[in-house]
């Protein structure tokens, strides 16, 4: 009989212990390896280990788009490190510790954070004046801010944390210049001649679902439609070129940049 049963079990217990979740108190809240050199090294590691799913530039592929200022599963550096280290159970995201040491994983985290950093730009307008214009020139009819507003366009509650000044100004002047990849305006004509313009919500071989410009949710079998026209590159949002002065545009942009979300 072994003198110390506890000690004799150690080799068995050790591998099990390795699988246990690490106490998060041991992990720094802020990335300790976030210098420019770390970001550069992180970029190389990312391309080799992560790029196959997340895209070599991190802007998505089979995996999520990481070029965003806030990541759903990683709201802070510690959470991001843990996602990289442990992977995401039940998904194809594997644990990083198979192949990277802690230092390298922090470097990858530093690079991932750099992807979503919106470069600071000077804001010229007055956000309060911008909010008034937002409410009086039609924006709020289609876009929600916090709990108020329409639902035809995307919510702008945290647009300031996702988009910069020049981007927002360009989109106000030319709304179709930057449509999301899966965004599509369609025009359906029913067999009794009714013409419906809307945003495609979903589509398959046999059916299409859309939200019309009044916000109604509609679904059609394609066989029941007289015609279905897809209008890529078009947006129901009107251009504000000529409708707002340069100064008014600055105000609206200043207001949008100030919207940082609830968190």
């Amino acid at each position: 009989m072994p003198a110390s049963p506890t000690l004799s079990f150690l080799p068995l217990l050790l591998p099990l212990w390795l699988f246990q979740a690490e106490p998060t108190s041991e992990i720094p809240k802020q990335n300790p390896h976030a210098s420019a050199a770390d970001v550069e090294r992180g970029a190389r590691l990312f391309r080799t280990n992560c790029g196959v799913c997340h895209g070599p530039a991190g802007n998505g592929g089979r995996g999520a788009n990481l070029a965003q200022p806030s990541l759903r599963r990683a709201s802070n550096d510690q959470a991001l490190f843990l996602v990289i280290r442990q992977g995401i159970p039940g998904t194809e995201m594997p644990p990083g510790w198979w192949v990277l040491d802690d230092h390298e994983m922090w470097q990858v985290a530093a690079y991932v954070r750099s992807l979503g950093r919106v470069p600071p730009e000077n804001v010229h307008g007055d956000a309060q004046a911008g909010e008034r214009l937002f409410r009086t020139t039609g924006c709020i009819g289609c876009h929600q801010v916090a709990l108020e507003g329409g639902n035809l366009g995307p919510s702008l509650t945290d647009i300031g944390s996702r988009r910069g000044v020049s981007y927002l100004r360009a989109v106000l002047l030319d709304p179709a210049s930057s449509l999301p990849e899966d965004f599509l305006q369609v025009q359906a004509v029913t067999s009794d001649g009714k013409r419906i313009t809307g945003i495609r919500l979903n589509e398959d071989t046999w059916s299409i679902q859309l939200r019309d410009l009044s916000g109604h949710l509609l679904s059609f079998w394609k066989d029941d439609l007289a015609s279905l026209e897809k209008q890529p590159g078009r947006s129901p949002m009107p251009s504000y070129r000529g409708r707002l002065s340069d100064q008014e545009l600055d105000h609206v942009v200043a207001y949008l940049v100030s919207l940082r979300g609830d968190r």
Binding site: R47, T48, G51, V52, G61, V99, T205
Partner: protein
């Protein structure tokens, strides 16, 4: 009641063993689905004709078996004598009563947390032989279960999962052996096809898909690049009992997208192998994509076909390759007979008279991203095609999409992905899919039915004049096998990444498919 039970038992005993001869003559008992592709020729064709183009509109779900796992359900169920054998993620097996859908037994395989797979902890099905059920596991074991109880008869380690080896394919039972392929083409493994004694689990043979120094083919690998050459074997092959040859496809060379470190043709990556079923010795090989830099695994199902080719009776192989070309080969010697694209491709100018592609000069992934067709997922992929002797047509679920291919660094670390680059979908161009019916010896398009998205589901053709297929948006559907006209569909609520089958239960024809995280079974009203 006792008499009824006695009769049921008598039927069970009479048909208890799934012998090699039964699988060899699977076409004579279309009421069962005895092997992954339905028969050794891999026709995925059902001779059952109760469900027809006239009555398929009355097809209704009979039962649904929910799978308690998050990963994709890629399984092809096998059915024998009233029991359906289904695999579930990660490497579980459940035996279901075909009348009620209720489980008879389950085999739950605990797998380590650090298994490494490129594309999900999936499993595509079991093999049956004698009174055993065979399943490969994501931690690279091959396990034999008792067909009555699900208890383990033997369990062998095929490879070390920590270096990226895994088993996702269904095994193939041939004579007294179980043949299995290995996954890990994105981890720089050295691929192989293995055979094990069905009764004992003792290894019978191994064919390495990447040669070592001193073996033929080593000259097709620069330096030591063969050591991480991949050529995985992750889809079930077919078998010709008369020639006693197994036909098995191999995957991409490693690293996938950076060919600089592995100058040469990289044998036996992206090949079809013809292996002696008794010894595993290579009879011949045909390489579809020499020195592949686009991840064009040739792990599609080889379909065996006996027919007239340019005036003479030939034993042929029909092969719709991921590289978007359709091939007709002589299966006695591997000779290339015919090839043509069946989906859009921009990487090769043509096939030469020996079937070797003539690539567009200098075409390879770049740091900025090279746009080519097909998408890295291919003109088709691992899911099954079908051949219908009734219609004399070859059916394939084709993908029409392009991709951006990036070259990157390729640092090998055991157990880490070894891709040498990455890929992206084409922005603003999601592509589409099509079920295509090809004339088998010419590859000429007879009809097609377009699908909204490039599909991930295989096809089944039937003597009732139907082709069943599935799509990303969850529809399981039936087309007229002569014309492609859509006749029936059912919304399963989950993406379909699997292959359909058909069988008899209580003398009625059923059709089954895995969709989302469930098995759906259909029968006429």
């Amino acid at each position: 009641m006792k008499i009824l039970i006695g009769m049921a038992l008598a039927i069970f005993v009479a048909r208890a063993q799934v012998t090699f001869e039964r699988i060899r003559h699977a076409e004579s008992e279309p009421g069962n689905w005895l092997t992954y592709s339905g028969d050794y020729s891999a026709h995925r064709y059902s001779a059952l004709d109760q469900i027809t183009s006239q009555n398929v509109k009355h097809l209704r779900p009979l039962w649904v078996h929910q799978i308690d796992a998050l990963d994709k359900a890629e399984t092809t169920p096998l059915v024998v004598d009233g029991i359906m054998y289904v695999t579930e993620s990660p490497s579980n097996v459940v035996a279901l009563d075909t009348r009620t859908g209720r489980p008879m037994w389950s085999f739950l395989r605990a797998v380590p947390k650090d298994v490494r797979l490129c594309c999900g902890q999936v499993n595509r099905g079991v093999a049956l032989l004698g009174d055993l059920v065979f399943v490969g596991t994501v931690d690279a074991h091959l396990i034999a279960l008792d067909r009555r109880t699900g208890s383990v008869r033997w369990d062998v380690t095929v490879a070390n999962y920590k270096t990226g080896h895994a088993i996702t394919a269904a095994p193939l039972a041939v004579k007294d052996k179980v043949v299995i392929g290995i996954a890990g083409g994105e981890f720089g493994i050295r691929g192989f096809v293995d055979a094990y004694d069905a009764n004992t689990g003792k290894q019978a043979w191994r064919f390495w898909t990447v040669p070592v120094k001193g073996e033929p083919g080593i000259e097709t690998w620069a330096g030591d690049s063969w050591k991480t050459g991949s050529a995985a074997t992750w889809i079930t092959g077919s078998y010709d009992p008369d020639l006693n040859v197994i036909y098995w496809g191999t995957g991409n060379p490693g690293p996938d997208w950076n060919g600089d470190v592995r100058a040469g043709d990289n044998l036996y990556s992206d090949c079809l192998l013809a292996l002696d079923a008794d010894t595993g010795k290579l009879k011949w090989h045909f390489q579809f994509t020499p020195h592949d830099v686009f991840d064009l695994d040739s792990t599609e199902v080889p379909v065996l076909f006996d027919g007239m080719f340019r005036g003479s009776a030939r034993k042929l192989i029909l092969f719709a390759n991921r590289n978007a070309f359709y091939y007709v080969l002589d299966r006695e010697n591997g000779k290339f007979l015919h090839g043509r694209p069946y989906a859009k491709q921009t990487w090769a100018r043509q096939l030469d008279d020996r079937g070797r592609p003539v690539p567009v000069p200098g075409i390879e992934p770049t740091e900025e991203g090279l746009k080519i067709y097909p998408h890295p997922a291919g003109g088709t992929n691992w899911y099954s095609p079908s051949y219908s002797p009734k219609n004399n047509l070859f059916y394939v679920a084709a993908r029409e999409s392009g991709g951006l291919y990036f070259k990157g660094e390729a640092d090998y670390k055991p157990g880490a992905e070894f891709n040498g680059g990455g890929m992206r979908n084409l922005p603003g161009d999601p592509g589409f899919g099509a079920i295509r019916a090809l004339e088998p010896t010419t590859g000429e398009l007879r009809w097609q039915y377009e699908l909204f998205s490039p599909p991930w589901a295989g096809v089944l053709s039937t003597a009732g004049g139907l082709v069943f297929g599935g799509c990303d948006e969850g529809y399981f559907f039936a087309l007229d096998s002569s014309t492609g006209k859509p006749l029936w569909r059912f919304q399963t609520g989950g993406k379909i990444v699997s292959n359909p089958i058909s069988y008899l239960s209580e003398s009625k024809q059923h059709v089954a498919i895995a969709a989302g995280h469930a098995i759906y079974v259909f029968a006429l009203d």
